[in-house]
């Protein structure tokens, strides 16, 4: 499974949606992912990709990990994996 599809499947599971309903331009709020579900999704991504994601629920917009859309999350996970390889 591609990284993008894996991220989408994790978010879909937390949003209780079918992966086909989760598009890259969707915001988490539009998918019904609340802050607790977001924290669970972050954890699932950390476990799936063996990465550590800098995310503080008090300040999600802080910019260390961009969660504004599904696409931005995919890109942020890609960045973290690239940093891990080098």
């Amino acid at each position: 499974m591609q990284l993008r599809d894996k991220v989408i499947s994790i978010i879909a599971e937390k949003a209780v949606l079918d992966p086909s309903d989760v598009t890259l331009d969707a915001s988490l709020a539009s998918l019904g992912v609340d802050s607790l579900a977001m924290v669970e999704a972050i954890f699932a991504m950390e476990e799936a990709f063996d990465i550590s994601i800098p995310f503080n629920a008090n300040d999600p917009a802080e910019g260390r990990f961009d969660i504004s859309t599904v696409g931005s999350i995919v890109a942020a996970v890609e960045d973290l994996l690239a940093q891990k390889v080098t």
Binding site: L36, V39, I42, E62
Partner: protein
């Protein structure tokens, strides 16, 4: 109706190991949050906390107590002894004096050590007193044995509202005539590797500082310690010439029956209104509010809105002392009663330290960074817990 007064106070927390030291630190706006010195701290993301430092339990406890107590119960025992010494309460041989000690986690230091031994170190034995040390009611049990309390004695667990619930419920027992006097408060020692690691999972902890109500806040910081009070029926306390520190005017406990972790403005509002109604006090009579004020985005915004809704255009000064002593979890409401006593007895409003920038979502006078003098006759103390549990205590000057 039987009225209830506080006749003794004791505490061990990161600011000081007694009440006078704690009140002086609150008045001075001292911060007890610093780098943690615990095993495996390098594996933590959150490495700060308000730890009780220089703790020498052997200076206060018997050898038997030392061998049979977790850190949280030691804090409770010492705080209870201070409160009893101040109160001068004679317990007697009856079944009319008791203790309710709130705790969120119980003997977590003991649990952590036992898990470390069997899982990390591969040992096949744990210390023989592991169970009686870790049980959440251990503190209440030890306090009862130390002072001969033969009435209602139990632990109470409502996460971060435990201490406030304990004091409120103890006051209800006395009001109802089910007890003559009660020791009540909270105790917590969660600054272990496992205790902090679990909190890291929620992603609500700050790695830097606790800045309640400040726009720059980024989470809570854990503390540890205990505070215990002697509560008595007012007429009996007056008759014996007991020191009266404050009266418990009212108490309310409500539940949101909503979200497991997200705070509810309606729930907080309802709890404050109900506590004021129980006290028979108009909002305008309240001179100081000790906020729950955790320093998380969600709590502070929600609590500020609830206070605005209850108190209208001109709410009284509000401060969160958690920026000084940390969030003491199940003990925090009890430790924060000390800030109410400081306001009622000495006319000093404890500051919200670490305050940097005003947040339009928290439009309150938070007594930023420096204590202030004010004549206060009535205080309100808020505690809001995971599970959607709210507890609000109204205290009055004698």
């Amino acid at each position: 109706m039987r009225r209830v007064v506080i006749t003794g106070a004791g505490t061990v927390n990161a600011l000081a190991h007694d009440v006078p030291g704690t009140l002086a630190a609150m008045a001075a706006g001292r911060c007890a949050i610093g780098p943690l010195d615990i095993p495996d701290v390098e594996r933590l993301t959150v490495r700060i906390g308000a730890a009780v430092t220089g703790w020498d339990p052997a200076a206060h406890l018997t050898r038997g107590q030392l061998a049979a107590t977790d850190r949280f119960a030691q804090f409770a025992l010492v705080a209870a002894a201070q409160a009893m010494a101040q109160s001068g309460l004679a317990v007697g041989e009856g079944h009319d004096c008791g203790a309710i000690i709130g705790t969120a986690g119980g003997g977590l230091t003991t649990t952590d050590a036992a898990y470390r031994a069997v899982y990390a170190e591969g040992k096949n034995r744990v210390a023989p007193l592991t169970v009686p040390k870790l049980m959440p009611n251990a503190a209440a049990g030890h306090v009862s044995m130390a002072h001969g309390l033969r009435g209602p004695v139990f632990a109470l667990s409502s996460a971060c509202a435990s201490g406030t619930h304990a004091i409120g419920l103890a006051s209800h027992l006395i009001r109802a005539g089910a007890a003559r006097a009660m020791l009540a408060g909270g105790a917590e020692a969660m600054l272990s590797f496992g205790g902090i690691k679990a909190w890291e999972g929620l992603r609500v902890m700050s790695e830097r500082a606790c800045r309640p109500f400040s726009a720059t806040r980024d989470g809570m910081v854990q503390g540890e310690g205990a505070a215990v009070f002697v509560l008595e029926e007012r007429a009996a306390a007056l008759a014996r010439g007991a020191p009266i520190l404050a009266e418990v005017l009212g108490f309310a406990l409500t539940s949101d029956a909503g979200d497991l972790v997200a705070p509810s403005q309606a729930g907080a509002e309802q709890a404050m209104r109900a506590a004021l109604a129980d006290a028979g006090i108009a909002p305008a009579a309240v001179g100081y509010i000790n906020a729950h004020g955790t320093g998380t985005t969600a709590n502070d915004r929600t609590e500020a809105a609830a206070i605005r809704a209850v108190f209208g255009a001109a709410p009284p000064p509000v401060s969160s002392t958690k920026a000084m002593h940390g969030h003491v979890m199940g003990a925090t409401g009890a430790v924060e009663v000390l800030a109410c006593l400081l306001a009622l007895q000495d006319g000093i409003l404890s500051p919200t330290i670490g305050f940097e920038t005003a947040d339009s979502d928290c439009d309150l006078d938070v007594v930023p960074n420096a204590a202030r003098r004010a004549e206060v006759a009535v205080t309100l103390s808020n505690s809001f817990a995971f599970g959607g549990l709210n507890a609000v205590l109204v205290l009055g000057r004698i």
